[in-house]
Symmetry: D2
Subunit: 405 residues, 4 copies
C-alpha cells in the first residue's frame, strides 16, 4: 500500500484519537481531516474542535456533525424492525453505529480529496472489521489505516510518552488507566476489558453509567404507550417524536427504571470470546414493544420467517456486513413485512423489567370472533380441525407404519 496523502480520521477529541492524529501526521507526513460525530454518546463536541485546531488541523478539515437523527432513522430503526438480537441477548448497540461513521468518513474523503480513512479500533475487536468492511464496500479504492494494528505504542506508558513528546494535552484523570473501556451512542453504552475480563466475577456496580441499579429504581411501576407506524415507534404517550427524540425519551425512561442492563460473554467475529456489559435502556423497551405490536399485526407466516432469518441478520450486523448485498436483501424482506405494523403498545416499566401489558391496532389480525370460547357464530368450524389434523398426520402415520414393519 502506497503511503496515504490525506487521511480522514474518526476523531473523538479524546486522548487516544488525539495520539492517533499526531501519529498519522508523524508517521505518514500526511494531511489529516477530522470527523467527529454526535451519535448521542453524551459528550460535548466543541472541545474536539479546539483540540483538533491545537493539533494543527486546518479549520476546513474539521468536520463536526450531529448525526443522531440519521443514526436512529436509517440504522437503529431498520435493525429493530428485525427484532435483531445477537446470540440471544445482545442488542448490537456498538455494531450498528460503525457503518454510519464509515459512511461519513468515506463521503468526507470524497469531498476533501482524501485517499484514506483511519479509525481508533484495536486489532482484537469487531470494530476494526465493521469500520473497514463498510469503508471498502462504499469505496473499493479507499485506504484504511488502523494505527493500533501498526504502531509500537503497545503499552499505556508508551502512549503517554508519545503524547508528552508531542504536546498532546493529557487530562488528569487519563493519567491512570481506566478500569475498563467504554463505547457509547444514543442506543447503548458498552463496557469491557480490565476489571470485566474475568466472566466469573460479577461486574462492579460502578461500571453501569446509564441505568440505575434496579434496586434503586422507583418503587412504583410506570406505564407508557408507544405508537408504531410501519414498524417504527413514532409517538410516546400520544406525543409525536422524531426518531432521535424517541430513543432519547425511551433511554431516559429505561435508565430511570434500571432497564436494559446486560452482562454477557459473546463470540467475537475474530474468533475469541469476550465479556461485555451493555446498557441499552431505550432499545430494550423498543424490542419488547415492537414484538408487542407485531404480535397483533404481523401474520404468523411472516413472523416466523422473520424469526428464522433474524439470527443471520443480526450476525451480519455484528460482523460488520451492513453494506453487503445479503444484509440489504434481508432488509428488503423485513421492510416488506412492516407495512401494517401499526398501532399502540402499552408497556410496564418496573425495576429492571419491561413488559407489554396491552396492545391495539386498526390493523390488528387478532379476531376475538374467531378465538372466543363463547359462541363464534360460525366464524370457525371445529370440524375443519379434524381434517386439518388428519391430513397433517398422514405422513406421520405412513412413517410409523413403515418403521413398525
Amino acid at each position: 500500500m502506497a503511503a496515504p496523502k490525506k487521511v480522514v480520521l474518526a476523531y473523538s477529541g479524546g486522548l487516544d484519537t488525539s495520539i492517533i492524529l499526531k501519529w498519522l501526521q508523524t508517521e505518514y507526513d500526511c494531511e489529516v481531516v477530522t470527523f467527529t460525530a454526535d451519535l448521542g454518546q453524551g459528550e460535548e463536541l466543541d472541545p474536539a474542535r479546539k483540540k483538533a485546531e491545537l493539533l494543527g488541523i486546518k479549520p476546513e478539515n474539521i468536520f463536526i456533525e450531529d448525526v443522531r437523527e440519521e443514526f436512529v432513522r436509517d440504522f437503529v430503526f431498520p435493525m429493530f424492525r428485525a427484532n435483531a438480537v445477537y446470540e440471544g441477548l445482545y442488542l448490537l448497540g456498538t455494531s450498528i453505529a460503525r457503518p454510519l461513521i464509515s459512511k461519513r468518513l468515506v463521503e468526507i474523503a470524497k469531498e476533501t480529496g482524501a485517499d484514506a480513512v483511519a479509525h481508533g479500533a484495536t486489532g482484537k475487536g469487531n470494530d476494526q472489521v465493521r469500520f473497514e468492511l463498510s469503508a471498502y464496500a462504499l469505496d473499493p479504492e479507499i485506504k484504511v489505516i488502523a494505527p493500533w494494528r501498526e504502531w509500537d505504542l503497545s503499552s499505556r506508558t508508551k502512549l503517554l510518552a508519545f503524547a508528552e513528546e508531542n504536546q498532546i494535552p493529557i487530562a488528569k484523570d487519563k493519567r491512570g488507566e481506566a478500569p475498563f473501556s467504554v463505547d457509547a451512542n444514543l442506543l447503548h453504552t458498552s463496557s469491557e476489558g480490565k476489571v470485566l475480563e474475568d466472566p466469573a466475577q460479577e461486574a462492579p456496580d460502578y461500571v453501569y453509567q446509564r441505568t440505575v441499579n434496579p434496586e434503586d429504581a422507583p418503587e412504583t411501576p410506570e406505564f407508557i404507550e408507544i405508537t408504531y407506524s410501519k414498524g417504527d415507534p413514532v409517538a410516546l404517550n400520544g406525543e409525536e417524536k422524531t426518531p432521535a427524540e424517541m430513543l432519547t425519551a425511551l433511554n431516559e425512561l429505561g435508565g430511570k427504571h434500571g432497564i436494559g442492563r446486560l452482562d454477557l460473554v459473546e463470540g467475537r467475529y475474530v474468533g475469541m470470546k469476550s465479556r461485555g456489559v451493555y446498557e441499552t435502556p431505550g432499545g430494550t423497551i423498543m424490542l419488547e414493544a415492537h414484538r408487542g405490536i407485531e404480535s397483533i399485526t404481523l401474520d404468523r407466516g411472516a413472523a416466523h420467517l422473520k424469526d428464522e432469518l433474524m439470527p443471520k441478520y443480526a450476525e451480519l450486523i455484528y460482523n460488520g456486513y451492513w453494506y453487503s448485498p445479503e444484509r440489504e436483501m434481508l432488509q428488503a424482506l423485513i421492510d416488506q413485512s412492516q407495512t401494517h405494523v401499526n398501532g399502540v403498545v402499552r408497556v410496564k416499566l418496573y425495576k429492571g423489567s419491561v413488559n407489554t401489558v396491552a396492545r391495539w391496532s386498526d390493523d390488528s389480525l387478532y379476531s376475538e370472533q374467531h378465538v372466543t370460547f363463547e359462541d363464534d357464530a360460525g366464524a370457525y368450524d371445529q370440524a375443519d380441525a379434524a381434517g386439518f389434523i388428519k391430513i397433517n398426520a398422514l405422513r406421520l402415520k405412513l412413517l410409523a407404519a413403515r418403521n413398525n414393519r
Copy 2:
C-alpha cells in the same frame, strides 16, 4: 371410522373430563380406561381415582401416574437445550406436555387392548393437534376421539344439564363459569379466554397463580448458582437435584421473585391469534442460565447454528410435531452440541428479573489470554486481523467496483 370399543381417556378428574368420560360411555357404548398423570399441575390425584370409580370405571382401567421426572428429563430438558422460544417469547409450557400424555395414552391402549384414545381439548386450539399428531405418530392404527369437536354440548348450560342428567357431581365453584381457562404442569401455568380475550385490556392480577406480582416480591435480590452437565441443570447452590426436583426448586424461587410472567398474543397453528398469560418461573430462570453457561462453553459456530434452527425447532414443538423425524433430527443436532456445556452459572433474581451475573467452567472456551487488553504474550497477532479483513472485504470491493462502473 368404526365406533371405538375401548377408549383410553386423558382424565383430570375435573368436571369437563368427567362429562367426556360419561359421554364416551353413552355415545359409543364403549369401555373407558382413564389415565391421570401428575405432571406437576399441583392437584391431588386421589380424587380422580374416586371419581373414575364413581363413574363406573373398573379399578384395572384406572391409571394414575406420577410422570414428573420423565416429563422434565425427557421433554423439558431436551427442549431447554435448544433455548426454545416460540415467537420470541413463549416458553412452550403447554406444548411440551402433550406428547408425553399421548405417549402414555397410546401405551396404555396397547396394554389394555383399547382401540382408541380421547382427550378434552377443543377444536379451536393447538392442543388437539398436539395430542393427535403424537398419537398417530406412535400408533398409526389408533383411533382418536375429540368429544369437543363432535358433541352438541356447545354451551355451559348444556354441559351442566348433561352432568346433572348423568349424576356427575358438580363442585359448587364450577356452577358459574370460570373467568378464564387454565392449564398447568411443572413447567408452567397458562391462562386464556374470557376476561383475557381482549388483548388491549391488561390482564387482571387475579389471573396469576404461581408467581407473585413483582411489586410484592422481596426487596432484596437473591443470588443462586446452577450447575450444568451436558446442557442440563444438575445442581442448585451445589446441591444435586433430579430433573423434577430442580424444576420444582427453581419454580419456587422464581415464583417468590415474580419471575416468568408473560402476557402475549400468539399465532396458533390453526390459524387464529390468541392471547395468553403464562407463568414459567423456573423455566425462565433455566433459559437465562442455560444461555449463560453456553456463552462460555459453546463454540460460536455451534451456537449460531443452534440459534438459526431454534425457531423451527420451537415451531415444531408448538405445532405438535414432537414425534416427527425433523424434530428428532434437530434434537440430534442440538444434543451433539451439548457435550461440553458444563459449568456453573450465577444468576440474580429480583422483582421479576433474572440475570446472569457470573459463569465459570472447566470446559470454558473463554480465553482471558486472548481477549485481554493487556499484553497477551503473542497469543494473538493483530496483524492477522488485517489479512482477515482484507480477504473478507474482497468480494465487497469487487462488488462496489462493479456497481460503480
Copy 3:
C-alpha cells in the same frame, strides 16, 4: 356454507369440467360463469366456448383469455429468479399456474357478481390446496366449490352415466379411461396416475408428449445464447423476445433435444408420496442458464443466501402459498438481488442435457486480474490469506485445546 348463487368455474372444455359445469347447475341450481385460460397448454380454446354455450352458459358468462404473457412474466419468471426447485428436482410447472387461474377466477367473480368459484381438482392432490388458498387469500369472503370432494361420482362409470343423462357430448377417445392423467401449460406437461402408479416400473415412452426421447434427438449439439436482464431472459441468440415468446422458443429447442424429462416421486402437501413424470424443456434450459449468468454477476453472499432460502420458497409455491406474505417477502429479497443479473449465457443442448459452456456480462464480478495464476500486479496479497486463515482458525484452536484438556 350457504348455497352459492353464481359460480365462476375454471373450465377447460373437456369432459370432466363439462360434467362439473352441469353438476353445479344441477346441484346448486346456480348460474355458472366459465373461465377458460390459454396458459400455453396447447389446446384450442374455441371448442370450449361452443361447449359452454351448448351447456347453456350465457355468452356474457363465458370468459376465454390468453394469459400466456402474464403467466410467464408475473409467475414463471419471478420463480426462476429464485432457481426454485422442489425436493431437488421438480421445477414446479403445475404449482405456478394455479395462483394465476385463481386470481382470474376471483377477479371474474367480482366483475360478474358471483359469490363462488369452482375447480376440477381432486381431493387427493396439491392443486385443490393451491386453487383454494389463492382464492381465499385474494377474497376472504369467496366460496370455493370442489365438486370432486363433494359429489358421489366416484367412478368412471358413474361419471359417464351422469354425462349421458345430461347430454354432455363424450368424445370417442374419452369413453375408455385415459392410461394416465395430464396437466399442461407453457412451462410443463405433467403426467401421473394409472400406469405410472408403481414407481418401480419405468414410465412407458408414450407418456412423454413434449420432448423427444434423447435417443431420438439430433446427433449434433446445438448452441444457443440467452441474454438476461435483471434476472430474466430477454433475448435468444440476440433476438429480443417477450416472456411467452421466450419460453415458447426454449420449449421448442428443449423438446427437440430431449431436454427436461423427469421421473420422480414427490412428497405431496396432503401427506402422501406420488409419482410424476414431468417435461419442462424450456424451464430446464432457463434454470441452467440463470445459474450460469448468476455465477458471474451475483455476489457470493447474495447467492448463498438465495440458495439457503430457495427450498422454503419452492415449498411455499408447491404448497399453494403464492399469495402469502412470506412468499412475497422472499420475492422482495430475491428480486432485490437481481438488479445486476445481466449478460449472456451460452448453453449446449444435446440429447437430454443442457450445459452452460460460456457466460459474459458487463456486470461481471469475475476478475481475471484477481484469480489469475499469472502475476496479478498486486491485486491480491497472498499474505492476507495467512491472516484470514489464522483468525478463522482461532475458535477451532480454542475448541481443540479445550476438548483435549
Copy 4:
C-alpha cells in the same frame, strides 16, 4: 512463529512439491517427513518414494498410503448422504479430500515428533484454507507452512531455476508450463487456470481427462441398479462393493457415458470468483441415485429439513470447516435421517445424462393405496382435505380482510 524443526509435507512426488521439499530443507534447515496418499488420483506412488529418497528423506520419514477406502467411507459417503452441492452445481470433489490429508499429516506429525506440516496450495485458493483449518482444528499447537505464500519463487522461470540449482529432476513435459492446473482424486478431476481463465471462452475438449465427450459416448443407454443401505450405496447390479470399489465402478460407468462434466464459475471463500472444469462421473450418478432412493424412503419433513440445511453444509465443506462443531452437528442430523434409506434405484446412463427411472424398497413410504386414482378403500378421506385447506387458509383470510379494511 518459531522456525519449524521437523515438517510433515503433503508430497505428491511431482515437481512442485519436490521443490517445496527442497525449499523447506533449505529455508528452515529442518527435517522433512513426506506423506503421499493414494486418494485415487490415478498416479503411481512408487516414484514418489524414489524421489523422496533422492531428495534425502530418510526411509522412516517416507509415508506412502492407500487411503481410498477411508476417503470414500468416511468423507465422500457422509457428504453424499446430504446431497451436498455447492452453489447449485459443484459436487465438492476437491474440498472433501483436504480434511483427510490434513488429518493424516497431523497424525504423522504426532507419530514422528514433527512440529509442523506443510502443503503445496497457493495463497489465492480455497485449498490452503481447507488444509490449515483442518490442521489447526485437529492440533491447535501445530505449525502450518504454506511455501507458496512465503517464498519468492513467483514465476515458472524462478521455480525451474531453483529446481536446477538443487538437482531436482525435471520431467521433460514439465519444462513448458501446463496449460491448466489439475487436481484429482477418486471423486473427481478438477481443472482450472490458464486456458480456462476466461469464462466467456468454452473449455477446450483436451481439458477433460476422465469422461468422454457425450458425443463420443455409446449410442445405446445403459441401465444400472444401485442398492442403498442407510443412505450409502453398497451394491451395483446386485454385486456388493466396498466404498472405494463402488466409486471406482461408478466412475468407469460415468466416464464411459460422458457423465459428470461441469463447467462453472464459483465464489471462492477468499473472495474472488474462479472458473473451474470438473469431472465427477461416479459422484454425479450417486447424487441422482441417492435422491432417487430418498424420494421413496425419506419422510417429507425430514427431506425438506435436509434440503434447507444442505447449502450451509456444502458451504462448510467448501470453506474448509469439515472439522468444525457445526459441520458435525449437521452430520448428526443428516445421519439420523438415513436409517431407513434402503432400497434399489435403477438409473439410465446415456450421453452425459443420468436419470432415475425406477426405485423400490422394503422401507418405502410410497403408498399406492393412498395415492391411487382408483378406489382407495377408505385409506384417505377426501373430506379431510377440505378442513385441511380451510384451517390453512384461515390466517390468509384474516390477512386479506385486514388488508382490505
